[in-house]
Each structure stands twice: as structure tokens, then as C-alpha cells.
Symmetry: D2
Subunit: 356 residues, 4 copies
């Protein structure tokens, strides 16, 4: 008899949801996708074509999908605005949850989900930070653990997107994304929590940004380029750069500088192993988007989440981190928009407001 | 109803066979592995653990496996010495065949299989050259097609293995591998046929080798380092380097130099995107073996072979090439062992023997 | 008759002064070093051995050296604390001046020198920022000029020194260096003025630092790692990283991100063109210090300064920039030490003090 | 009193001669250029402008120049055809000689010069192989000496020139250059002698070439792309690639593969440290010619030759090597043109002719 497979449903069949659904269908041997939900007709149409033939039941009602017989776990990749509510409902139904980041752009709402999950420790609840499942970032974690660079002291990390051919794309996106630091840098912040330890306490947060190519962002108080610094109380610093202005492709780079060495990830982005020598010189192409860079990480994420559910082992990243990363992202975004530094005492209590 | 999946059996469950079996089980959505064969008890034991639970029937008799009900295709990854015979038997049974390279180290035997396949054009018969399914090599083919480098004129290609911790490993391997040019450079030769065109006719072949670290190779007339040149009648040249002496890892590099540009593949090998900065300088690791470099290619190979069978489309590489690549490899090996150049007339007829 | 050579004296024969003296002696064809000064006996001893044999007169009194017959120009590379006074005295004597950076760690004193020079427009007075004479940085300037990246919008630039074997070295240095931003990042700031234009007006300045490996720095209110952001009123941002903690060598990196492309300098530092492949992987070495990276720039600097003096052409960098770079460096240092953001109005007038 | 400077004359003021003259004038502190010779009016005109003003005497008669009072050394960079004769005359006059490579394209004539020099051991006579003075190649020699790669076993080395805008340029050059292996690969051969040891004895030599873009080469029995293998009796192999077809620039690459590691030089050519990120991807430029790659080597060569003459120390490369490198180049060229392998016995005596 074939080993039992985790019975999974996918909520949301947009760009990312469809990718999750196909990953579980085709590249997650220990999981079986049995149901999928979307509130959107076009997405359901896609599901009819690509999922229904495999016996996957489609729903246009999330709650009904949660009632699907035998269902054990839900992968949530609907709009960010409903991530938290749908997670809460799944937890309520005693289902494991893998939710796309962020749980919410609102920190308190994130915390509510974490609190709900904490009450059901038998459930595996995880927020999907794909870089945690990337070979290179995992190698860095291993090397740091082995002492390869001494004490990690400074993180420089950037998430830089290719300019979108449609100038409205990122502007519309900014209406609900929570801003560049919450939407993009949250990955860099999560890496910082990974490499510095999740107990680090911010001491001060500063940020600046410009609107260089997408004037429409101003209406949403967002920026197409932003830099920020987070200083921590234990003598460490992280600085971030987020941009939607790259012409060459996606360029997510991380450096971890320790007291006795340094590790870099993706300092020299490349689409594949080809170089083209021509009159222009020597040229290599770069992945156009995060999928071109992180696709294998998403597959690994689905597999590791499945294993944690089936084997009742811990999920690979603390759920609480998902709140902390959004919280720091939100503070950076606040510092960015207000132009004012935010400060904290050693317990992590914010103290700048009192000063002003 | 779920789309029909190709019913596949895998012959051989050694290192490579096990990988093929798992690829088809887990990473080839349109195929279903239904049976597996091995003459080896340990391999069958592995099958009992990893395949039988999924309803896959195990056989210790290849012919019986071919009788498996509903079987449509066989993936052959047994010892090279039986590749050809097993391929012929599968073709005889009207089964599609994906056979690991080489079909045989004997050119005539290779040709026999190709001839048998040619008589059954409804069958998909393919010899697995994994680089044909590698993103980077495919990108090179596309760029050449688009004229990015003018006329491809010189190929430099190398297959270099990491030194094996067990000095006997490669020596024992050499007993039946056909020699470095047949075993290793056959990949580089296949790439040459791809990029220069499969109709190219050799004009002369020269080769030299040394035994630098594995004296045991001498008893099998093999070498741990070998270089060879193949000159073609249409004004092109390929030169190859094969080595089993690398300390840093696997290093398979290809350059294609055209009249108006150059393309390189994997000139800077890397295990992942991490660099370590230390007192020694800046260091990156390198894949330890071909699996670390080409794993995604093997997955793509299984999927594309499956698609060709199900959709009745041409297999992605001409079967005849498999003979031609082995033939050129065997000539290089002969030139290597004899120390004498081999020559051909414009029709491809060998002329050096007559001269001597 | 051989063309006239500029009659030059060098003040200061310490590490950098000796290099300047030898550059002028051996690698600056249109200049002739005729005199040198040092207040230090050891340095004079070095001069006796390396300069006197070539007919160069040594002085232990700076003012007397200025009286050297026929003297036309002075290269000043004494201690930073006397740069300004010695520059003023040379200007007073109607001599061209090439002064090592910084003119002073005090902005007003810098300005005094610039003012004095402005009154004698026939004199060439230049503050030596060696990167201005580096092939790569000059190539970037040319490419920006040609529109290769659209409007330069974000500069990321770092000056990172190798850990000194003597832990006291940088601590003693910090006593008078003005702090990491004035001493190290001043180069990155000067590059920013070059690529953004020297008329840019800061809007806000923030900085943070840690003392990770050199606790002695605390007594001088300095840091071994510091990051800072300068936001400019015309919608541009620069962010800097200065460190004395590298284990691998000197790593000065600059990125200029434009609205339509990006340029990087030295993202992959290397000592030479050698890579070593070993069990550790693939390793390249890195220059140990700024001399290993910028030596050819210093030679070009001496030659271009000489040409400007002899041909009465403008010096290659505006002297006023030297003040502005130190000013921004000093503000960054102030923000670093105080932990408070500094703000400016559109005219460049500082406004944060009034607010607090 | 200033230390004595070597009194040097330069013969030939063409492209390379002019560079030598300026190097000695401006960048070789211990040498003084006192005379220069050219048989060419244009070259002499250049000398009038750039050398005469510095008191350098110009000659249109080589022999008269040799009589220049106080002359100690000659740098010969006239046409290859007169290198040997002019070297002999200078040796005859008891002058040190630095002669551009090759001494001659004729091996016997090379040997004559070496023999003449051997009779005057007080003279420093050197053939200029610029790579011997390149930092990276010197670093490789040092690392090999230190055992960094075990026993050097395989050399792969290429000299690849950029396509010349004038298609006739290389064709005319081929009339007297001795062919690609003598003209270009002689550098790679010299490196082989350096890293393998100058006592290595060839066992067999094979070569092939194509005329891909410069049909005019055929009249001179030359090729625009050529590959060759030299097998040595002590179990080592060198293989070479020479090309005049690069579009991207000069690309001289060397790999030395040892039994315990590998060293590469210039595997990733670059003009400077700039990378340009654009829609095309990430691009770096490449030096256009050997001067862009090796200029600092030529300066070091002039300085080290000068030091050897003044200090009576050995010149940095054995003069006999210059013959051996040309000899191997000539054999490769013969194998290339004839299409036949050349063979030698263990004493180095050629045995293939006897066999045929």
C-alpha cells in the first residue's frame, strides 16, 4: 500500500496560487491536492482546465472547501487582505495551514493568527518565506552555525524587482501591498531574524525613499526605491534596499558580515550558466522575476511543510517570526513615510513618540 | 477524469536507475511508474522499500517485466553491457525506450539498435544525453539558431570529474566503460553534433593522454587525463578534455566560438549562489558530481520523453546521433591508445589504415 | 632641449608621503621632485637613502622647504592636523598644491583653505581623492555622461578595510582621524558628488554603528562598522557602509543605480587574475589594502596634477568638493555618535536643531 | 650623486618600439634612453617629436647607433626578420640585449643568437616574453613552487586576438609572422616551459586549423583558428588554441591542472572593474588588445632587465627557452600545415620522418 499522502486544498488560483496548486499536484510526492478555491471566475476557469481533470474539486466558497471530506491542510494564496481571516477559519477547522506571506499588512491581525495557532499546538501553521527553503540561504545558515564567519554583525540585503512593462502594475499593487518594506523587504527582514536570531530587539529604525519612475506611487504613500537601517540592541545592524526599478531583472542580494568573515548570496545574479561574448563585451542574463530565482525553493517549501504535517515534526520556521518580520517592515515603512527615526528601549518598547 | 499517464517501467535500480525511478514516481506528472527490474538483490531490496509501497511491481527477470500488463515504455539504466540487448527486446515488444547513454561501447551494436528502432517509427526511442535537457545548453542552441555568434566554428568542451576518494573506483569502472572518450567525452561529442549539426563528417582525429594519479588504469588501456581534437570537413574543429583528476568538484565546461561571437556554458562552476569571504580570499564551492550539476536536466528529460510518447511528437534528439557520438568517441579512444592520428575522406570513409 | 618639468616638493615622508615621493621621482615624467620635508627623523633617514642620492634636498623645516629655489608645487602628505596650515602657507608662497585628503577633519578649516585658494585663481590647488583617477570610476563617469543608466538615483558605496593584525592600530588612528565617515566614507561621498553632481543638497542624514571587534574605539567615539544614509532634495539617495572588519582584504565597492540601468565598480574584488581550484572550492585573493587597489590611480593623480600646473588647465576635481565631502562626512559622523537624524531645508540650512 | 642609470638604446620605433622607448624614458627609473634607431622615416619623425626633446639621439643606421658613446644596452623591436642579426651585432659590440620575441621564426637562426650570447656570459641577453613579467602568471609560478596544485600535468593555454577591423591586417602580418603557432602560441609554449620546466621533451605534436573569416591567410599557409596538442615524455600534456576571430576583445587564458589542484589565469577577462546592468543583462568589457592586458608587464620587463644589467644578476628567463619555444611553435605550425603528427624519441630526436 502506498504511503498516506497529506490531503491538501489550495485557496486562491491567481499567479501564485496556480503555482502552488501545480507544485502540490506534480512536485510534492507526499501530498495530494484534493480541492481548490477561488472567488474569481477566471481563476476557477483555469482550475477547470488544469485541476479538475485530476479529480480536484473546485469551490467558489472558501468555507465550503474547508468542509471537503478528509481535508487535512490548506495552502492560502488568496489576496493578502483575506490571508488572516482564512487562516483563522482553517485553524478553527483543525487544519494545518501554509499561508503566503504576509499574514497581513497589519501587525495586530498577524498576531491574532499566531495566537490562534498557539492554542492548537497539534497544528502545523507556517507563513511562507520562500528564501528559507532556498539552497543558498540554507547553506549560509549552516555555515554561520559552523562558525564560518564568527559573530554575524551586519546584514545588507536587497530585494530589487525588474521594472514592469506596465507602469500601472506596481502602482495598483501599492494600493494594498503595505508598502515596499512590508511587501518586499519583509523577506530581507526574515533573513535577518534567521541569521541574527529571532530574539533580536530593534534599537532604532530609519528609512528614506524616492519616487524616481512611478509617480503614481505617491498617492499610496509608497516609493519605487527605498533604503532603511535597523539597529539592534545587541550590537548588530541590518540595512535594506528595495527597488522596483531594475532594468536587468530580479536582483535579490544578501551579505552577512561577521567578526571573522563574510558570506554573500547571489551577488552575481544569473539566469543560467551561459555567457555571451560579443562586440558589447561579455554578457549574462538575469532572472526576470522571483519565480526565475526561487522556483526550487517553493517546491522545497511545499515538501517540507507536507513532511512536518505527516510526521508531526516542527515546521522549519517559527510562526511568530512572521509577525516580527511584518512588524519591522511596518516600522521601516512608517519611518520612510514620516521621514522620522523610530526608537525603542531595550525591552523593545517604542520610545520615540514620548519624545516628540 | 485525470489525463492518461504513460505506463513506464524502469530497468536497473543502481545509482542512476534509482534516480530515474524516483524522478518518474515523483517529478514526471504525465508518467506513472508501474514496474521495475533489477538482477541485483540489493537493488531489489531498495525497490521493496522505495517503490513497492506505491504499487510498483518489482521483477528480477527483465523479460517478464516487459510483459507487465499495460506497459508502454521502458527506461533502461542497467549496466552498459546490456543496454543494447534490453533495448532491442523492448522494441521487439513494441515499447517506447529511453536508454541511458551509451547504447553500447561497440559502435556496430549501437547501430543495430538504431536500425531496429528505425523499423518501428511509431515507437519513441531515445538515448539519454542529459545535457540536451539542461537549460543552459538549450539556451545556447537557441542563441546559435538566432545567429548570436555567426557560424559556430570551434567547440572546446570538457568533462572533468572530481577525484574519487576510492582510488579503485575509476579503475574498476574503466574495465567496461569503453575509455574516457567513450564514457565521458561522449557528452561533449553529442553537444558538438547538436551545435555543428549531426551531418558533420570528421576529417582527422588525434588524441593524447596521461596516467597521472591512477596507475591501475593502465591495465585497461585507459587514462585519467586525455585531450583530443576532431577536425571536420566543413571547416570546423572540436577539441575535448576529459579528466578524473579534479580536486574541487565536477567541472563540465563548453565554449562555442563562432565567426561573430562566442558562447560559454559553466565556465565558472558553482554549487550554489554562496561565496565565502575569509582569510584565504573569496571562495565558492563546486558541485561534487554530475548529479549536482545536471539533476534538473534528468527531470526534464523524463518529462519530455513522456510527452513525446503520449503526444506522438518527435523525441528531442535524433536517435542516430547516439551512434555517431559513440563512434567518434571510440575513434578518439583508438587514437589515444595507439598514439596515431585517424583520417577520413570527405565521405567519412576512414583512410588512415590504407596509408599505413 | 627636454620639455620643462614641474619643480615639486613633497611634505611628509610617512607611508603615503614616501609613495608620493617615489611616484614623482619615477612615474611622473613631466614633474621633477627637488625637495622633501619631514619633521620626523626616521622619515628623513628614509629620505637620505631613497631621495638624496637623486639630488633631492631634504628639509626638517616646512617653511624653509617652501623657499627652495625654483619650487613650483607642493604635495602635502603630512599628518592630517597640519594639512590645512601647510596648504595655506604654500598658497601664500604662490605654489600649486596637491594635498592628501582630508584638508582637515574640521569643516571650517577646510573652507578657509578653499577660500585662500579662490583668491589666487592662477594656482592649481587640489585635494587628492584617488578614486577620481581610477580607470573604473572614470569609466563609470563617462558612461553616466553618455546616458548609459538614465538618471543616477541611488548610490551604494562602501569602504571596507582589512582587519589590522595589530588591534591597536585603528584605535590609535581613530584618535585623530575624524571618525569612520570622515576618514573612510569621505571617498564614497566624493564619488556621490561626482556622479550626482556637486550641487546636490542633503535633506536628511542618518547613521548607525557598532563596535564589534575593537572595543578601544569607544574612547574615541568611533565604530568599527557604520552605515549611513544621505537623502538629497532632488530625489536621490546615497547609502554608505564603512568597516574595519574585513578578513579577506580591502573591499571598496560602488553601485550607481539609475532610472534605466546600473553600474557597479569592484563588486568582485580580486588581487590579480588568478583563481585557485582546490578541495575548498574555487578561491581568489583580494588586495590587502587601498594601495593594492588604487596604486595606478595615485600615479595618474600625480601626472594629471602636473599637467594641470604646466599647461594651466583646470584640475580634474573642484576644490570646493573637498569641503563638501568632509562636511557630509562630519554630519554622518555626528548622526552616528548622537544616534539622531540630521535634517536640512532646501537651501541646505540645517533645521533639526531648531526642532529639538 | 644619483645612482648610475643604464644607458639604453631602442631599435625600431614602430608600435611596439615606441612603447618600449616611452617605457624606458618614463617608467624605468634605473635606465636612461640615450639613443634610438629606425630605418623608417615616419618612425623617425615620431622620434623627433617624442624623444629628441629629451636629448635622445636618433639614428637611421643601426650600426652607428651601436657606436653611441657610453651605450650599454639595446632594446630591439624592429621587424622580426632583423631581430637576430641586430642581436648578434649588439652582442658583438658587448652590449646587453633585450630583444622582442621571437628572435627569429627560424629555429637555427634563434640558436645562433643564443650561441653567440653564451660566449659572452657577462652580457645579459633576454628575449621578451611579456607574460613572464605579469603579476598573475608570476603568482601562478609561486603557487606551483609552493605545491599548491601538486604536480602540474596539463596546460591549456590560448592566445586569442580580437578581429581586426581591417581584414587585410592579419593577412599581411601572416606573410612574415611564422604562422599562428610561432607568432601567438609561442607565449603559451613559453608558459608551458616555465610551469613544466624547460627540460621537458616533446613526444608527439598534433595540430589542426581552419580558415573561417580571413580567406587571404591561405596564400600564406596560415589559419585564423588553430588548436594543437603537445605530449611530453614525462607524462604531461599541453594543448593550445590560437585565434584571430574574437569579437569581444583579447582573451588570453591559461589553466594549469595539477595532480592536486588547478590554477587559472584570466578565465574571465575584463577591461576594468565596471559592470553595466541593462536590459541585455550584465555586461563587462574586455581589453581590445595585448597592450590593454599586458602593459604593466612590459614596464616590469624593462625594469627587471635593467636591474639584471646594473646588478649583474641573472635575467629572469633562460635565453635558451626562446629557442625552444620557437622550435615547438614551428613544429606545431608544421603539423598544422601538413596535417600530420610529429613524433620524437625520448632524447627529443624526431622520428616521424624516418617512419614515413
Amino acid at each position: 500500500m502506498a504511503p498516506r499522502r497529506l490531503q491538501v486544498a489550495v485557496a486562491g488560483l491567481g499567479r501564485m496560487g496556480a503555482r502552488h496548486a501545480l507544485n502540490i499536484l506534480n512536485k510534492t510526492p507526499r501530498a495530494e491536492i484534493v480541492a481548490a478555491f477561488s472567488p474569481d471566475k477566471n481563476e476557477l476557469q483555469w482550475g477547470k482546465q488544469h485541476l479538475e481533470p485530476y479529480g480536484i474539486t473546485l469551490y467558489d466558497d472558501y468555507k465550503k472547501m474547508l468542509e471537503h471530506k478528509g481535508l487535512e491542510a490548506v495552502v492560502i494564496s488568496t489576496a493578502t487582505s483575506v490571508h488572516a481571516e482564512e487562516s483563522l477559519q482553517a485553524i478553527e477547522k483543525d487544519l494545518h495551514v501554509l499561508c503566503e506571506k504576509p499574514l497581513s499588512t497589519n501587525v495586530q491581525i498577524c498576531q491574532n493568527v499566531v495566537d490562534a495557532a498557539a492554542k492548537k499546538p497539534h497544528l502545523k501553521v507556517m507563513c511562507g518565506f520562500s528564501r528559507r527553503f532556498d539552497d543558498s540561504y540554507q547553506d549560509v545558515a549552516r555555515k554561520i552555525e559552523q562558525g564560518a564567519i564568527g559573530r554575524p554583525t551586519v546584514v545588507r540585503s536587497q530585494t530589487c524587482d525588474k521594472q514592469h512593462p506596465d507602469p500601472d502594475f506596481f502602482v495598483q499593487y501599492a494600493a494594498w501591498s503595505g508598502g515596499v518594506f512590508v511587501d518586499m523587504s519583509v523577506h530581507d527582514i526574515d533573513l535577518t531574524l534567521w541569521y541574527f536570531g529571532s530574539s533580536i530587539v530593534p534599537k532604532s529604525i530609519s528609512a528614506n525613499g524616492v519616487v524616481a519612475i512611478l509617480p503614481g506611487l505617491k498617492q499610496h504613500k509608497d516609493y519605487d526605491n527605498a533604503v532603511g537601517i535597523v539597529e539592534f540592541w545587541d550590537g548588530r545592524i541590518a540595512h535594506y534596499y528595495a527597488s522596483r526599478m531594475m532594468t536587468h531583472g530580479q536582483e535579490d542580494v544578501t551579505e552577512i558580515i561577521g567578526t571573522n568573515g563574510k558570506l554573500t548570496v547571489n551577488l552575481n545574479p544569473q539566469k543560467n550558466l551561459v555567457n555571451h561574448y560579443s562586440k558589447a563585451g561579455i554578457t549574462r542574463e538575469v532572472p526576470a522575476d522571483y519565480w526565475g530565482r526561487f522556483e526550487p525553493g517553493f517546491v522545497k517549501e511545499a515538501n517540507e511543510f507536507t513532511a512536518a504535517c505527516l510526521d508531526n515534526t516542527p515546521v522549519p520556521l517559527e510562526f511568530q517570526n512572521a509577525v516580527k518580520a511584518v512588524q519591522i517592515g511596518a516600522w521601516l515603512q512608517e519611518a520612510l513615510v514620516s521621514g522620522k527615526q523610530i526608537r525603542f528601549d531595550e525591552s523593545g518598547k517604542r520610545i520615540d513618540r514620548a519624545n516628540l
